[in-house]
Subunit: 127 residues, 2 copies
């Protein structure tokens, strides 16, 4: 660290970011890593069946319990857990109560994958 | 979900994974997202100055407080916070007490970046 004029860089605080919005199903970008984005989102209820043809998708649960249904089963992901949905695999997130979730995926990926419908959120929305 | 023979997929639980090792500075891969890896590591003390010429590097603190020094300043990252070190930027992690940290970066990235020294850990070690 330089003795003269040291910079204090700010970390990204998840709780602070969540205080900035309360709508659901609308992911906010909080960071980028090369051409990947970290997005946080509030979800509650049922999402739509969809898949991402070209990319895996990482789910990290920050608060609550998320279930992701697959055509052949399901995974339940609690706070402090993560799961990676492989590319091409149909999935449908479900949250009985509100879940705070972080998604990691390449820039440009739509939340509803190959489908566009009433759940399709604005992409690349930073907070 | 199919009514016949549904699969129960397992999430990746950070606390469970940390119970499987207690050495420091030796990242373990817990998941992959395309050609990126999620690694967890315990660190305490001073790391070495290094940089990654070709990639950004994401730090998510799961427990404890991490400081990353830069040549012109520093960032302090607590549990529930993250920071992305841009590619090419020299940095040196420091933890006064043990920190549980998750790193996200492309497969093949060495923990000591362009340098190889006594802190260089085995790469691609899964847990």
């Amino acid at each position: 660290m330089s003795d003269t004029n040291p910079q204090t860089y700010r970390p990204i605080n998840f709780a602070e970011k969540y205080q900035l919005f309360d709508d659901r199903w609308a992911p906010r970008v909080i960071a980028e890593l090369n051409d990947y984005q970290f997005k946080i989102v509030r979800i509650e209820g049922d999402f739509v069946w969809h898949h991402h043809a070209d990319t895996d998708e990482a789910f990290i649960v920050l608060d609550g319990t998320l279930r992701i249904d697959f055509r052949d089963g399901a995974v339940t992901i609690a706070a402090g857990e993560m799961f990676v949905v492989p590319k091409g695999v149909e999935h449908k997130p479900f949250a009985a109560e509100e879940v705070k979730l972080m998604l990691i995926e390449p820039r440009g990926v739509l939340n509803t994958g190959e489908e566009q419908n009433e759940r399709t959120a604005r992409n690349d929305l930073w907070i």
